[in-house]
Symmetry: C2
Subunit: 300 residues, 2 copies
């Protein structure tokens, strides 16, 4: 089976490295240069002391024809609009699309997609792109997957085939699945990016822990989560499992890339405003991150 992966950041490369063990994988990159490097070197997967080269085809995104049987979209949420524009110009409509974006802001964009089957996922792995064709898998976990629209049989078949080499966990309720990840992201990402600390510091430092707790109250109030205490342990577990990691938002800030703050905090602030709630803490964090992004631009 042919699998397309749109985006060759840390998650795109991680999926390409593993999925190429069971499928014929083509990665679509933003630049011609990166495609050439992947074609020349394959995708290099580092995991602890292990090192493996995966044979993966690569093309520039401008050469995407949508001909693969299954297509994974692994770009950031803010890059999704340009992918959807490209999608509308494809000669044939891809059947199966699988979206791996953080946050929930991308759901409203999905409704514009004409593909028969739409799946969403939340990645719980830790991965770091070391260069244009090398990814370090520094936190082994799973990818939660769920049907957003269409046929669950296809997803069932896909995850069964993949699970031999790369764990996947099917979830019934895509909304609950994405919300859980969103809550964790909204708490861990901005705080670690502002404080420039590893995820674990938020648990170890009793004052940061206080901020986590009050943020959690604000977020679960916005999302109208019933019995929020049930979900708290899950968020803490994510923080524990990724204690040694630097969050994606911190990495983006350090690399002076745009962050996913709009997809994560922006989405929650919008939800709050719709309901007439004032998200005091989220707004403060949102503008601090936007300001840090801006500062990076001014300095660089």
């Amino acid at each position: 089976m042919k699998v397309g992966i749109i985006g060759a950041g840390s998650i795109g490369l991680l999926f390409a490295a593993y999925l190429s063990r069971v499928f014929d994988v083509t990665v679509y990159t933003r630049s011609q240069e990166q495609a050439a490097e992947i074609n020349q070197n394959g995708v290099l997967l580092l995991n602890g002391m292990d090192k493996a080269v995966a044979k993966v085809g690569a093309l520039s995104i401008t050469d995407w024809q949508g001909l693969e049987d299954f297509t994974i979209i692994a770009v950031k949420q803010y890059q999704l609009v340009s992918i959807i524009e490209r999608f509308d110009q494809l000669p044939s409509v891809p059947k199966n699309l699988f979206f791996l974006q953080n946050g929930m802001g991308h759901l409203k964009l999905l409704n514009q997609m004409k593909a028969a089957n739409l799946f969403v996922g939340s990645v719980e792995h830790g991965a770091l792109r070391e260069n244009s064709y090398t990814v370090r898998h520094n936190g082994e976990s799973t990818t939660n997957v769920a049907v957003y629209k269409g046929d669950s049989g296809v997803l069932q078949w896909f995850t069964t085939a993949v699970s031999r080499v790369f764990p996947m966990t099917i979830k019934d309720d895509y909304l609950a699945m994405l919300e859980k990840k969103l809550i964790a992201n909204a708490m861990i990402n901005p705080l670690t990016a502002i404080l420039r600390v590893n995820n674990g510091a938020l648990l170890e430092n009793p004052f940061y822990y206080k901020v986590l707790q009050s943020l959690y109250r604000e977020i679960t109030f916005i999302l109208n989560i019933e019995n929020p205490e049930n979900c708290w342990e899950q968020v803490i577990t994510i923080c524990q499992k990724t204690a040694a990691n630097r969050s994606s938002m911190l990495k983006d800030i350090e690399a002076r890339r745009p962050t996913e703050v709009d997809a994560i905090l922006g989405y929650l602030i919008e939800e709050a405003n719709k309901q007439g709630k004032t998200p005091f803490q989220l707004e403060t964090l949102y503008y601090l991150i936007k300001g840090i992004e801006r500062q990076g631009e001014v300095i660089s």
Copy 2:
């Protein structure tokens, strides 16, 4: 006239350097070593390209007898309790005490002092202690002074004598004077310390400016300021005048000293709680600063 200055940080040294031009000044230091260095070198005042040595006597705080005619207390708010304990053991009660602490948390401590005249001040100068006897005056401005309890004639006489060498501005209303400084401190100090930026960045960066605005709304609501828009310009002016400065809280964080977060944000949070208001933004900033302080301790 004999003047005592308790505390030889940046503000204590700054006052010692200028006031020694008109008074006989003794500085009381935390350590014997610092007293010895000041006795040997005088206080060295740097101002732009200018350099002046002030002849100032120095003693360890343990040698304080309270014999001076006028005593300036220039320690941080969190050091005040130990000064008051010492005060209670003095052989004679000092007549005139002048307090220069940030925030307003020290006011309730002042009520315990038996001195006849209690004055409070808010320093608008920029000063940086470069070593145990050297201070750089890097922002010339004024010291606002007001009567907290007692005889305004003494304060009038003192400021007139001092003003020839070091500007002082008498204010009628100590509460309004300290509140204005508190508002500016509560906005500028934590944000600059968390973001590690100069004061001016809060005005230049449009996203940080948004945070300033919403913080201002929360603080003026807690302090029940009528017509808050009248006071906004004053706060912005402080930020503009000190644009190139690093705030005292940022300097404390960088030097891994305790900050004045309890005197500044802690005071406001307590005021809010008394009134049944929830200071969401201030609490977030408070715990972030407490966490950064703790992190500094753990690392160092």
